[in-house]
């Protein structure tokens, strides 16, 4: 049944005689999760895309209100599970801001290293899934080959592969594994040896380029007005890298470029992520031999109490800007928590860029927006 939802539907375009209304999802190979799209089609051409959310809503923000400042960080791993570590980072930063704790230099470097490894792992998975959306299955396995190495490094250091829970307010949970530096260097070697395969297999493929170029155009103005962040915005040459604009931890001391593409199409968004992986490798290379000695955790009280007030921090996840907003009444649990997740804003642009293109391109566009559904629904 077609259901009109006033909040997100555009009443100017309603299904007419001869239009085909298709439900894509919540169980569909293209949506990578339980996203539900109601697509109005005219033949193969898309007239409207209407995302329906809520299939994986776990009420994380409400849950956080009953958890202490040490506990609630772990729940946020389950939002954007592909950049779980960066989510934790944002929360830890916000709590530290409230507590006014100085994080030791070693912990900062470890955090950034882990952030960038997570970013690469996330982009690797995105690359495989993206190619799979376009009907090429092989890249998925090639991407996983490299991603496994990162997961192994994560497992060795924090004991988990996906939802690491490595962050605590004031630093990281434990020190690095003694093999960490060796393993990361091995990974960099592997990455540099294999990355050309990505270009040969997918980027330089003529079919792939035809599918991606001049498809799903997002103008810089629209990117700003829809609140797009991360690679989606940077593909439209909107500077939005929080690491550059509002540096946290040690990002202001590192040498890396904010990757910008001017195309605004699917291919630009694709290239952003590919190039971001190179930048992340650059950051890791700068840090891996320069991890300072010292504490990995600042001394904090056993029971954390944030002073009365409002605190907001933002970080750059693999998908864009993640904001954490904590309202504290001075107790041991937050009064209210709000997450500004990148996926939600990036999804909202889908209808705008998909109109008038073919259904096959819709899948490719969703791929380039890099949607993670638990991040959208929370």
């Amino acid at each position: 049944m077609y259901r009109q939802t006033d909040i997100i539907s555009d009443s100017r375009i309603s299904p007419q005689e001869g239009d085909l209304v298709i439900n894509v999802g919540p169980q569909h190979p293209a949506t990578h999760g339980v996203l539900h799209l109601v697509i109005t089609l005219n033949g193969e051409t898309i007239k409207k895309v209407e995302p329906h959310l809520g299939y994986i809503h776990r009420s994380i923000e409400k849950m956080c209100e009953s958890l202490t400042y040490r506990q609630f960080i772990y729940v946020t791993s389950r939002m954007d599970y592909l950049s779980a570590h960066i989510n934790n980072h944002a929360c830890a930063l916000c709590v530290e801001k409230g507590l006014q704790v100085e994080v030791p230099a070693r912990a900062q470097v470890i955090r950034v290293l882990m952030d960038e490894l997570t970013r690469i792992a996330s982009h690797e998975l995105w690359w495989g899934a993206m190619a799979m959306d376009l009907g090429a299955f092989t890249p998925f396995f090639h991407a996983f080959r490299e991603r496994e190495t990162i997961n192994d490094i994560m497992e060795e250091t924090c004991g988990a592969r996906l939802t690491m829970n490595y962050m605590v307010p004031g630093g990281v949970m434990q020190d690095l594994h003694p093999d960490f530096q060796k393993r990361v260097k091995e990974f960099i070697q592997l990455y540099k040896r294999k990355i050309h395969e990505y270009d040969e297999l997918v980027t330089d493929n003529i079919i792939f380029q035809n599918r991606m170029k001049s498809v799903g155009y997002l103008s810089p103005e629209d990117a700003i007005s829809y609140g797009c962040t991360g690679p989606t915005a940077r593909g439209s040459s909107v500077s939005s890298d929080i690491r550059k604009l509002y540096p946290y931890e040690i990002y202001d001391k590192l040498e890396f470029d904010e990757v910008l593409e001017t195309g605004g199409d699917s291919f630009a968004r694709y290239m952003i992520r590919i190039r971001e992986m190179h930048e992340s490798i650059r950051i890791i290379e700068q840090l891996i031999d320069n991890i300072p000695e010292g504490d990995f955790q600042a001394k904090t009280k056993a029971v954390l109490k944030l002073p009365k007030g409002e605190f907001y921090t933002r970080v750059e996840t693999a998908r864009g800007e993640l904001g954490v907003y904590i309202v504290s009444e001075g107790g041991t649990t937050p009064y209210r928590i709000k997450f500004r997740s990148p996926g939600f804003s990036n999804l909202s642009v889908l209808d705008h860029i998909a109109r008038g293109s073919k259904i096959g391109d819709l899948v490719a566009m969703m791929g380039t927006l890099d949607l993670v559904i638990p991040d959208i629904d929370r």
Partner: protein, 358 residues
Amino acid sequence: MWSFSNIADQIHEWLSSTFNPTWTLIIEMVIAGVCVIGLFAALGLVLVIMERKVSAWIQIRLGPNRVGPKGMFQSLADTLKLLVKEGMTPNGADKFLFNLAPFIAMIVAMLLFAPIAFARDFQLWDLNIGVLYVSAVSSIMVISILMAGWSSNNKYSLMGAMRSGAQIVSYELSAGLSILAIVVFTGSLSVPDIVRSQADGWWIFKGHIPAIIAFIIFLIAVTAETNRAPFDLAEAESELTAGFHTEYSGMKFALFFLAEYMNVFIVCAIGATLFLGGWMPFHIGNWEGFNHAMDWIPSSVWFFGKTFFLIFVIMWFRWTFPRLRIDQLLNLEWKYLLPISMFNILLATLMAIMGWHF
């Protein structure tokens, strides 16, 4: 040296001496039918395991390795699973057409076996328009896909079927024209004639540029015609879940699945026959010793070797390329492949008239 034709002749002699001609004919037809069905099933199993192993090899993983030695019985286990699965028919479906469609797909695939020369002088039906017959019968396939898509009462199925209709009808043109290039060289539509004309060299070698162009266009067109990636828009997993066979399950799905693989086998067999010399061994000019050694390899091995090589190439396509979009697919055919193959026919005709090929 034993060969298929000797075995067939011996069976025929024995039957003729034992039974009267009518019974001989009936028994021979039954034997031929059983052979086709047996070949159908055996090839299906082999091709499925081959696809899985090839994809595993390309995707740096092991592939099936649990059932039987090196997982070779995996496709048997799969077939067993599909056999015992419930073949559901959706409530809103047109039940008659829905159940008929997979059988048409299978019957078409079986009919296509008739004119193929599997070995020296071994053929089910030596008809003088063999190549034309294959082109004609293979286009019935689209009817079964349209039928399946329409009767499923599912929007994904319908879209897949419509895509498939547009695609198969378009690509049949270039497939036909590229076949025609060889027919022009040979001057015959009969499969044995075409194979015999390659005794002194395969057409891909002695047909110069037109044959090579025709071969490439043929490969692209038949990949599209059999609905395989990068032209698998009728199924398009990430867009249409499973396209025209979304609603099929159990053995009815298996028949579609099998028919797809059979079609791949048949188009590759046709490609091997037309361009790579069918069951003809590989000969090099006057190298008597080499040519003699090549003759020792049975003709059926040559035929299946070439066919499976082409099947491997088509599988390689599938596991490497991303899928095209529907408008790009049609553009490729109508704007590039069709004009090129028309020009190619002209070139081939010119060469045939002037006798420029070897």
